[in-house]
Each structure stands twice: as structure tokens, then as C-alpha cells.
């Protein structure tokens, strides 16, 4: 690690290299760790099964991750503010059904997707209002809305289900189609991801999300519109869960009252593996997206390696713990390097 003496550098030209981009580098290092784990995993699998990275194989990998990436992106926004949204699975389920119902009745796909997103926004707003105006713990509230939305979904959907037969062929084809190995859905998710990341990094609103997660009281004193920001984070999270619902419909062509139940744990896992801290204020959507990719890929890698599905769950869990541990050790290393580097000279 290079040591710079900031005091010596002329004010106008602070060097870009060296330690000046330290904060960013810490983030990037965490993402890098996950990326390396992911690449190693893929390489090992490819070595064991040459069919793995066929065009179809790559497409499947990307498709599997797509929906989780979207929801994890939204979740990251909320987690950065030191909150959490456990209701995303329920929101995904109910939006998927709403979109499906519209299409079943001969509706327009664009309208259906909009409907799903609007429904997501609605529930996001509900969560956001409860958390920001009610100032009550997000964990409890969103566990509550998880149950409420799921309950409403079950009552509304009953035993009905939407199957591929009810959907316009074009919609379903879009769900599995793509530009050679890159599915359309993955492109949409990628666009959302990049836009969100750019906003978080380069816009005041994005930075304020980090600030208020890092120290809510200080954020208030700094005049940041705390409630508005939290509300916005939840709304976007809900909207993305809604969009993910529409994509789920396109992808699986099948929705019933159980769709998306239990999904919150998967999403939270992805976010955690991606290095987004639940204490707020740190982490990035790229990390969360990588976490999502890693998690879903494990489920493809193990069958492709011929690992009996009996083992999948255990290996999944162990990998999850390993990923978090590795990330933590990297972070500790960085922190101690940081401390040594900062021994001040008066």
C-alpha cells in the first residue's frame, strides 16, 4: 500500500492514484472477493463438465440470477439506510399474479408489467410510510406486511393459477428469449442495476442514503430529509419487487398463491453475501448483484457436477457461511492496513 502525505500535495492536483481512493477501494475489494469466488466456482464446474458453459448453460446461469438480482438491488437500497424489507417475496407474488390475471383476460403485456410495478410501488409506499412516519422498527413492520400481503394474496388468488397457456406466446417467449446467450430479462436487470449504482454513487440523493444509514441522528442534524429518503428507498424496493414479479411470470409462466413465499430469506442472503452491512451505510448494489449471481449459480453448479440434490442444501449453507467469512477477513485486513497507514504525524 502506498503512503501519501496529503499535506505536501498541491491543493489543485490531489493524486488520483495511491491511497486517495481508499474508501472506494475497500468497497471494490469486497466485490472482488465475491467475483473471484464466483469465477473459481464456474471454472471448476466447467473443468468437470464441459457442457456447463455452452450457450444454453450461460443463458441459464444469467436467467436464474436475473430475478434475484432485481429484488436484491431494491433490497440493498433499503438495507443501506439501516432498514430491511422482508415483504419483497409477498410483493413479488402478488404483483406476478396481478400481471398474470391482466394478461389472462387478454390484456396488453406493457400494461401488465406497469400494473405489477405499480402494485409494488403501492406496497413499498406502505412499508416506507410505516417505517419513516411511524418510526417503528423495519424488521417488525415488514415481517408484519410480509404476512399481510401474503394473506391478501392467498385470499385473492385462492386456488387459481396462471399457467403459460393463459399468457400471450410473445410474453412467454420474451421470458426465455435473448440475444444469443444473453437473455432479454438479464439485460433489463443489468440496466436497472447500472442505473441504481450510478445514482447511488454520483447523486446527492444516493449519498444521503448512505449517510442516513451510517448515522441517522447525524443525518437529521445535517438537514437530510430522512423520511423522504427512506420512503423513496422503500418505494423503489417495492417497485423492483413488482417488476421482478412480472419477470417471474414471463420466465416461469406460472403463478399461484404460493409464488415468492420464503423468497425474503434468499434475497437477504444475496445481499449479505454481497457485503452489504445490515448496520447500514455500506455496501453496493454491484456486491448484492454478485451475491445473487453466486447464490443462484451454486444451484446450477451442483447438479451440473453431478452432486446429488441431497447435498445441495448443505453445500449451499456452508458456501454462504464461507462467503461471509472470507469477506469479513478481507475487510479486517483492509481495516488494519488502514489503521497503520493513518498513524498521524502532527
Amino acid at each position: 500500500m502506498t503512503v501519501t502525505a496529503p499535506d505536501q500535495a498541491p491543493v489543485a492536483e490531489v493524486p488520483k492514484a495511491g491511497a486517495t481512493r481508499l474508501v472506494d477501494r475497500v468497497f471494490r475489494m469486497r466485490e472482488l472477493a465475491i467475483l473471484v469466488v464466483f469465477l473459481v466456482m464456474i471454472a471448476v464446474t466447467q473443468a468437470g463438465n464441459s457442457a456447463f458453459l455452452s450457450e444454453q448453460g450461460v443463458k441459464d446461469l444469467l436467467l436464474n440470477a436475473t430475478i434475484l438480482v432485481l429484488v436484491a438491488t431494491g433490497q440493498t437500497l433499503v438495507v443501506i439506510t439501516r432498514n430491511v424489507d422482508l415483504s419483497v417475496g409477498s410483493t413479488l407474488g402478488i404483483s406476478a399474479f396481478a400481471a398474470g390475471l391482466h394478461l389472462q383476460n387478454g390484456g396488453n403485456p406493457a400494461v401488465a408489467v406497469t400494473l405489477a410495478v405499480l402494485l409494488g410501488i403501492g406496497f413499498g409506499l406502505l412499508n416506507g410510510l410505516l417505517v419513516s412516519l411511524g418510526q417503528v422498527p423495519a424488521l417488525v413492520v415488514t415481517l408484519g406486511t410480509l404476512y399481510i400481503i401474503r394473506g391478501i394474496d392467498s385470499i385473492w388468488v385462492g386456488s387459481r393459477q396462471i399457467t403459460a397457456a393463459d399468457l400471450p406466446g410473445g410474453f412467454v417467449d420474451f421470458g426465455s428469449g435473448g440475444l444469443s446467450a444473453v437473455p432479454y430479462l438479464a439485460l433489463i436487470a443489468l440496466a436497472v442495476l447500472v442505473a441504481t449504482a450510478y445514482y447511488l454513487k454520483h447523486f446527492g440523493g444516493g449519498r444521503e442514503l448512505y449517510a442516513l444509514g451510517s448515522n441517522p441522528e447525524a443525518a437529521r442534524l445535517a438537514g437530510i430529509p430522512v423520511r423522504k429518503r427512506i420512503l423513496a428507498a422503500y418505494t423503489v424496493c417495492g417497485a423492483l419487487a413488482g417488476l421482478a414479479g412480472a419477470m417471474y411470470l414471463a420466465r416461469f409462466g406460472n403463478v399461484d398463491s404460493g409464488t415468492g413465499s420464503g423468497y425474503e430469506l434468499t434475497v437477504v442472503s444475496a445481499v449479505v453475501v454481497g457485503g452489504v452491512a445490515f448496520t447500514g451505510g455500506s455496501g453496493s448494489v454491484y456486491g448484492a448483484a454478485l451475491g445473487a449471481l453466486l447464490l443462484t449459480s451454486v444451484n446450477s453448479v451442483l447438479p451440473a457436477l453431478g452432486v446429488s440434490s441431497v447435498w445441495v442444501l448443505a453445500i449451499n449453507g456452508v458456501l454462504l457461511v464461507l462467503a461471509i467469512a472470507v469477506d469479513r477477513i478481507v475487510a479486517l485486513r483492509v481495516a488494519s492496513a488502514l489503521k497503520k497507514r493513518n498513524a498521524r504525524h502532527a
Partner: protein, 338 residues
């Protein structure tokens, strides 16, 4: 009866089971009216069980009794299902028809119900025989297992690698079918067919999806898949129809016509089979009423008339078979709606 100062499995074998049915059947007893029959499926909101229970409801109404349905919202919430058995017991229904999430877990509660004079019929998924009066089986496990292999064999000309995509590893009925499939495959006419793997998709669309992908990647020469679960076959079909394997890898198993219509029409699937769930529910309902009326008690060899469905005879352990499953293909699928 202790070995090494402890109670082991050996000791328990000697304890022996208790016969559930008591009393004597009177085949000519009048069918009672004004009974309450409770249906307790594995999961409410599940289309399959909804069809079955609607069949049951129709029959119960016809017989002049009251129908009610309760159940958990998750098919793995065994504790929830136990509470519902208790609830039905507390509400003093006359008979209940239960599709058991677990063969053992419901036993204590069901025995308690029978002690309180409630007749217990299981349908779709059985419990241990001593915990119920009768079991209405959707088709004999043997028939299902063997016919699925036969269906697939015809589609792949009796040669090539095949795999099975099942539900949960613990699903009792699936496991029995798979055992019969393996047994059927021992026949010489299948000597060119090889079962390479049994995968489990846990009756979850996404997992079944990914398990299908895994099967195809791991076994590039795979010719066919049997999925004896409605969720599994649907997910596998959806994956195949959007992949390069469409039409090349054959898929069969248990599915509902409504789920599978698209895939049969777009050529992903040639043929699959299933019993009619509504008929299953109806038979369960009629069995329950027959038990409550004293026409049968659950002993082997007893017979009763199930309305328009005709006469049924109780087999060993009080098992009643619904009959052979129906095979659906492009030719007949449009005649069914469930």
C-alpha cells in the same frame, strides 16, 4: 424389554400396532343425512386439492350432509395440519377426509379423533394404517409407477438414458411410485434404457427448473425425464420449451391437463397421465359417509356403493383404489378441464 439398559427399535417392534377399526359393518345400513364431513388437504389454495375437495363437496351435498374445508397454507406445515385435525375434533365433525403431509405426525391427533367417534378417511397421501379407518388411493401405486415408464419408453423407442425429477425426498407416494418404476425397468424389454439419476425439485418451480437444467447438463445424452409430480413436470416442461432441448428430450409424468395444454400443443410433451382429482375427492367423501353410516368399518373385503361411481371393495389395510389413471395427449387433452 430393554437392551443395554435402553429402549431400542427391536423392543418397540414387539409392542405391536392397534387395529383401528372396531365393530361390525352393516352393508345395508341407511346412508345417514345431516352429517358434517371435514376435508383437510395438505394445503389449501393448491389447485389439485381444490379440484379434489370440490369433488368431495359435490358428493357430500348430494348425500344431504354438510361439507367444510380447512387446512394450512403451506404443504410443509405439518404442525399446522395437526392443529387442524384437533380443530375438527373439537368441532365434533362426523367424519374427516385427510391428505396427510406426514405418515406419522398426524397419528396421535387422528387417533384422538377416532376415539371421539369421528371416522377418518385419508386420500391422496396416507398415514400409518392404524391411524385412519380407510385410505382412498388415487390409483394403485404400482399402476402409476409402471405406466409412467411404459409411456416414456414408447416415446424414446425403448433406448437411451432417462432420469426422474421428483418432489421432496420425503414424499411417500412419490417414493413408492419410483420404487415401482425401478422395478418395471428391470424387465428385459427395457434393457437399452438406463435410469441415470433421481433429482428432487421439492415441488418448487424454481428448484425444479434448475434441477432440470442440471440433469441436462450433466447427462448430455439424456433422452427422457419422468416427473411424477404436477409441479415438477410443469417446471420441466417450461424449461424444455424455452431451451434447445425442446422436443428432443421427452418428458412425461403426472400433470394436469390445464397446466400441460400449452406444452402438449407446442410439441414439448407428447403424453402424460393423471387420475381425475375431482373423482378422488368424491370417492373420499362417499367413503367417509359410508363409514359414518356404518356401512363399512375399514376391514379388508368390505364393499360399498359410491353413487354413480359404482361399487368399491376395500383392499388390504383398508385401501380403496380409484382406478387406472387417464393418459392425456394432443388427441384428447381438450376434452378435459381441471
Amino acid at each position: 424389554a430393554t437392551a443395554c439398559g435402553g429402549t431400542t427399535k427391536e423392543d418397540v417392534k414387539n409392542e405391536g400396532g392397534v387395529a383401528a377399526s372396531a365393530g361390525k359393518a352393516d352393508p345395508n345400513a341407511a346412508t345417514k343425512k345431516g352429517l358434517t364431513v371435514g376435508f383437510l388437504p395438505k394445503q389449501v389454495n393448491n389447485p389439485y386439492f381444490t379440484s379434489a375437495d370440490q369433488g368431495g363437496e359435490k358428493a357430500v351435498r348430494e348425500l344431504g350432509s354438510t361439507f367444510k374445508e380447512v387446512g394450512p397454507t403451506s404443504a410443509t406445515d405439518t404442525a399446522g395440519q395437526v392443529s387442524y385435525v384437533n380443530t375438527l375434533t373439537q368441532q365434533q365433525v362426523d367424519a374427516m377426509a385427510v391428505s396427510a403431509q406426514d405418515p406419522g405426525a398426524l397419528c396421535t391427533a387422528l387417533k384422538q379423533a377416532m376415539k371421539n367417534g369421528i371416522k377418518v378417511v385419508t386420500y391422496d397421501s396416507d398415514t400409518n394404517p392404524e391411524c385412519r379407518n380407510a385410505f382412498v388411493s388415487q390409483a394403485s401405486a404400482e399402476d402409476l409407477g409402471r405406466t409412467e415408464v411404459q409411456l416414456l419408453a414408447e416415446q424414446i423407442d425403448y433406448r437411451g438414458e432417462i432420469a426422474i425429477l421428483s418432489a421432496a425426498q420425503t414424499a411417500t407416494n412419490q417414493n413408492t411410485w419410483i420404487d415401482f418404476m425401478k422395478d418395471e425397468l428391470k424387465d428385459r424389454k427395457y434393457k437399452n434404457m438406463k435410469l441415470v439419476e433421481v433429482a428432487y425439485g421439492n415441488d418448487d418451480a424454481q428448484q425444479s427448473f434448475q434441477q432440470t437444467q442440471g440433469l441436462l447438463q450433466e447427462h448430455p445424452n439424456l433422452k427422457g425425464i419422468i416427473s411424477p409430480t404436477t409441479v415438477g413436470i410443469k417446471a420441466a416442461a417450461q424449461y424444455l420449451s424455452g431451451s434447445k432441448y425442446k422436443g428432443k428430450v421427452k418428458l412425461t409424468g403426472l400433470g394436469t391437463p390445464n397446466d400441460m395444454r400449452t406444452y402438449v400443443k407446442n410439441g414439448t410433451v407428447e403424453a402424460f397421465e393423471l387420475w381425475d382429482p375431482a373423482k378422488l375427492g368424491e370417492l373420499a367423501a362417499r367413503t367417509a359417509v359410508a363409514l359414518a353410516s356404518g356401512q363399512i368399518t375399514g376391514k379388508e373385503g368390505e364393499t360399498f356403493t359410491a353413487g354413480a361411481m359404482g361399487e368399491y371393495t376395500l383392499g388390504k389395510d383398508g385401501v380403496i383404489n380409484l382406478g387406472k389413471p387417464t393418459v392425456f395427449n394432443a388427441g384428447n387433452i381438450d376434452r378435459f378441464d381441471f
